[in-house]
């Protein structure tokens, strides 16, 4: 493991190892909640809160949790924090609760959170894990917001609910629907490839290597051949 300064740990999640656009984790909420800017920001911040808490907690317990039982332990910890966040959102932000719906529950199985627990928090001290959680959470929020801006402005001619009059006649309404999400996501990843001049580890992360379950499943990936 290379030595990273605290600043590196914080900032790498934002661009260099952006969970959505470079590591390709957490695709489901990325596609599902980016139809509106409000939903995307809410989803990003909710995931940030869960990620920060679970990273800190798992890092505190990293010497207590037995190796073989670690995945179920992580899942229980994450599910606990998701429930807390969900109850908070339900109580104080009912509009957001209605927008996100079942996807709020599904933060439990968001690959980013389990992935960071497995790849980072279980091996690093508390402060670094907290910074990693914040960095990854911000990276997730930024990527979601960027996608939502494209989809909402071009698809619905509004920004965070405010109408943009001059775009009204030109709106491409399919962008706010399901196919638009997949299309915009594909275009954004291609854009990141162009910006980083192909340095982003795109090819590798697409296979099982980017999946947090890779640790528990060797067979499905290696034996059956996952060559690109």
């Amino acid at each position: 493991m290379r030595k990273d300064s605290n600043l590196d740990v914080l900032t790498k999640g934002i661009l260099k190892e952006n969970p959505v656009l470079v590591l390709i984790l957490g695709t489901c909420p990325t596609l599902a909640t980016t139809g509106t800017v409000d939903g995307a920001v809410g989803m990003g911040l909710a995931a940030l809160a869960v990620l920060l808490c679970s990273n800190v907690f798992i890092s505190l317990l990293r010497n207590i949790i037995p190796e073989t039982m670690r995945i179920p332990c992580y899942i229980v910890i994450i599910a606990g924090f998701v429930t807390i966040v969900k109850l908070f959102v339900q109580a104080y932000l009912p509009d957001l609760y209605a927008t996100l719906g079942v996807y709020l529950d599904l933060i439990t199985v968001n690959c980013i959170i389990l992935g960071r627990a497995e790849m980072f928090a279980s091996k690093n001290p508390v402060v670094k894990s907290a910074l990693d959680g914040i960095g990854m959470g911000i990276g997730f929020t930024i990527a979601l917001t960027a996608m939502a801006i494209v989809r909402e402005v071009l698809g619905n001619a509004t920004f965070a609910g405010n109408s943009i009059a001059f775009l009204e006649p030109y709106k491409i309404s399919f962008l706010t629907k399901a196919p638009g999400g997949l299309l915009v996501y594909g275009l954004l990843i291609a854009l990141v490839y162009v910006i980083t001049k192909g340095k982003a580890p795109l090819k590798k992360s697409f296979s099982c290597a980017g999946c947090p379950n890779a640790a528990t499943c060797h067979t499905a990936c290696t034996e059956k051949g996952d060559e690109q």
Partner: protein
């Protein structure tokens, strides 16, 4: 009664396809759809796990959580139950049917944290389905997943041989192809409700 079940089944296969219109289970959809046999295996495994998960979580919700007034524990209990169920299923298959384990078992660990499985369990409760309805809905969602996987694996073998511009190689072109399949599935919107009018 029978009509409702058919409507639930057809709409969860075509209209509300979990992968293509609700974006649940995208990871296995993109990860394991490179070859037809893998895609079929994964699809069948997911269908089986969904059926089992819904058959188990529905009674838990209504007879345990609601009875104890602990509805807020839904998330934690469901994910634990599903994870334990998948592990048990894998052990049983390994012991009693090694050949089936070889075909399907390898996909089981991947399903533990599949959001489509947790999603269908929670959605069935949120939609207020009865036990039979939620089993049918789980079957429909599973078949819809299988259908999407099989269709998409066919498309991907074509993409694999195509000459794609460098920035789009790999994931981007796959996502754009998925977008077109999803666009095709949008055409099913409204059909199912009108069949039985």
């Amino acid at each position: 009664m029978f009509k409702t079940l058919i409507i639930i089944l057809l709409s969860s296969v075509f209209v509300d396809n979990y992968v293509l219109s609700r974006f649940l289970g995208i990871c296995p959809f993109l990860g394991v759809s490179k070859k037809l046999d893998q895609a079929t295996g994964m699809g069948i495994a997911v269908t089986a796990v969904m059926l089992l998960a819904c058959a188990v979580t529905w009674p838990i919700q209504y007879f345990v959580l609601n009875a104890l007034n602990m509805g807020y524990m839904q998330n934690i209990v469901f994910i634990l139950v599903i994870a334990a169920l998948v592990q048990m299923l894998e052990l049983l298959l390994k012991k009693f049917s090694p050949s089936l384990h070889k075909g399907l078992g390898v996909y089981l660990p991947l399903i533990t944290t599949n959001c489509a499985v947790l999603g269908v369990a929670i959605n069935n409760i949120n939609d207020g389905f009865t036990f039979i309805e939620s089993i049918v809905s789980a079957l429909g969602v599973g078949l819809g997943f299988l259908l999407a996987m099989v269709l998409f694996s066919g498309l991907r073998t074509r993409i694999h041989d195509a000459n794609v511009p460098a920035p789009f190689r790999g994931l981007p072109v796959t996502l754009i192809a998925a977008s077109f399949i999803s666009l095709a599935f949008m055409g099913f919107g409204g059909i199912v409700e009108n069949i039985f009018k």
